[in-house]
Symmetry: C2
Amino acid sequence: MAERHMPPPLRFLLAARRSELHGLEALAGTCELVVRISALVHALQKERGYSNLTLCSPQERLQQTLAGLSDTAVRIETDARHFLDGLAADPAHGSGKARLLNGIAFALFRLDELPALRRQIRDRAIAVADADARFTQVIGSLLAVVFEAADSALDPGVTRILVALLNFMQGKELSGQERACGVMGFTAGFFSDAQKARMLGLAANQRRSFDIYAEHADGAPRTVWEQIQQQGEPVERMRDMAQRTADGQRVDGSLAELWFDLCTARIDAMREVESLLAQALAQQCERRIADTRKELDDRRLLLSRYAEHASGQAPSMVFSVQSRIVDTPAPDGVGSELERSILDMMREQTLRMQRADDALHTMRGALEEKKRIDRAKLLLISHYGLTEHAAHERLQRAAMDGGLSLSDVARQVIGELAGN
Amino acid sequence: MAERHMPPPLRFLLAARRSELHGLEALAGTCELVVRISALVHALQKERGYSNLTLCSPQERLQQTLAGLSDTAVRIETDARHFLDGLAADPAHGSGKARLLNGIAFALFRLDELPALRRQIRDRAIAVADADARFTQVIGSLLAVVFEAADSALDPGVTRILVALLNFMQGKELSGQERACGVMGFTAGFFSDAQKARMLGLAANQRRSFDIYAEHADGAPRTVWEQIQQQGEPVERMRDMAQRTADGQRVDGSLAELWFDLCTARIDAMREVESLLAQALAQQCERRIADTRKELDDRRLLLSRYAEHASGQAPSMVFSVQSRIVDTPAPDGVGSELERSILDMMREQTLRMQRADDALHTMRGALEEKKRIDRAKLLLISHYGLTEHAAHERLQRAAMDGGLSLSDVARQVIGELAGN
């Protein structure tokens, strides 16, 4: 029986399921984008690392490696842009995706800065700290896209993996920043107090990110990460060494390269975890789409059998037995068995969606912190007419001065300015 | 300049805005559905009231009025069903609407019971309490659709009005249930202890719903409601009278009709508030769609001017000046002014979406209570293998026994069973 001839409750029951299927298909596209972004971020992190090294000590060997890394990053970026063109044309990527699309626009805006930056690095016309900061900005805009992807996903299983991946990418990015900060300190032979504080902060925030990651990960991505952690001892030792240095207690500048290599090995190993998460993401999307499609087909079949069976009756009679079905099994043959299945199906669908919503709510909890910080910034902007940058600085200063996390300071600001 | 020739950041900036526009257009359809549902609920409430009256005291006059009311309800239902057929065919009503569509399926399922119920009432083959309960079930399923509509709306202004309307409809429905309960008590000449408790509960819950309504309403819908409240004294007096009755202290059974007329006048006056809210809803949707469309056009124009201006440069250079724009106004002519506008636009769009998200979060707070109760029910179902009905009963009993609100009991259950 064609669907448009089905009784309306059945049609809407199928429409609800189809809505979920469309949502999952669009989500699969978003996930593929996230996977491409994680590859691009990895390439840019590597490129940033070697840019810093060549700007610190220009060697032919390093410059060649850097040129190769830049080419790789450009190739991955080009592929990602082609993929984005396809996504932009897809109408399923429509409503409810405004924040994600806005994030993509901003990331593209940042990516457009890269060619000029690369020229400056090649010409040695930029300070190492500035080049580092500009790569970091680009990577930050890409991480923001991953955040919006995680926040807009409507499937709790997918959201869980996206939250895991986002936190892993954040931890890995902080490792990259720590590597850069360490290269500068070890090259100089000692770390200033400000640099030491920054190193401590980067290590602490890495731990936080990786802890949240571990809470949301399971299977191979978790096991591989545990193995990497067990091999973290050499990096830890050099961190301690950095804290013991001072202007009067310098260490050999050649330690910079050892530090760089140890960190790089660790970061490259982390990439393996990201690949495993990417696989898990793709598998979860495929599985959910296949399951939903199969259920939709099964239901369509069952409902059309039911509708055919009921078509002899007056249309308004089709569901007139509902209260009987709820309370006790109906006594007679095939028709009432189908009626029961339909009511069960409705109830099961409602419960399943509720359960999913609940799980989604739990998974998104991990994203709340960033939202709280954004909210505090927004309040500072509107109350004191600050720029976004100044608002961020003020939060960070308050956190440092008070020995608090950014999230705690944000909570205080919200309490004071929003009055709740 | 055609949009597909624009630099990618600009294209995605427009895509984000267009995504909002599509969302608003779909939301306008949902709002029209809600308005039709509020009219249908009102008609069914009236029909339920007269069904109760005729089942209590069969009079030719009442039966004729009832027949007219049934016809009106059927007409409104038929129109709403035609409107739904259009909605179901609209692909914009796609992903993210699964819960709303499921709610619609269930409401249609319930509505299909009405013809059989009306026959039973005409034939006097159903007890007044059963007829009352079955109308109440149908109305409950329609209110659930309004809840899902409010919960799925992504515009804070629209959500505010939907939350106001939902709570007003709930308060009005509780008034209708109170009217029915009162008719039975006054017809008998006294109220049992259970009936008295129910009357008190219905009055208290009405106040709660109307308080939430008042928090979310402004302008004419609020003023008219305040006027209605000021005329509530006669109903209050009869409520007090009901509480003073007992088997030994009966009142005249003819008070039933006075009670019914007073309540009906009040409920009919409430309908005026619903109509004003419906207007406010339509206006808000129209205004937001018009604003968004205009902004989209303005931006498209600005961006295509910018893209034309920039097309002489290498594509990768288009945004290479970003950091200069952020920190200080660029010094040179028209190009940089446009660049500034674009960055301002990006920043403004981000802040606006964040602000909207924040407001949305606040507005949805009023829906959290029902979600908490649903969550507690779900935990009871999965922990003790209860049916949904039994879970609801258990929550209600615990609330009554402990002198707590359903929401407090739900919080306790979640604390015990979910461990947070």
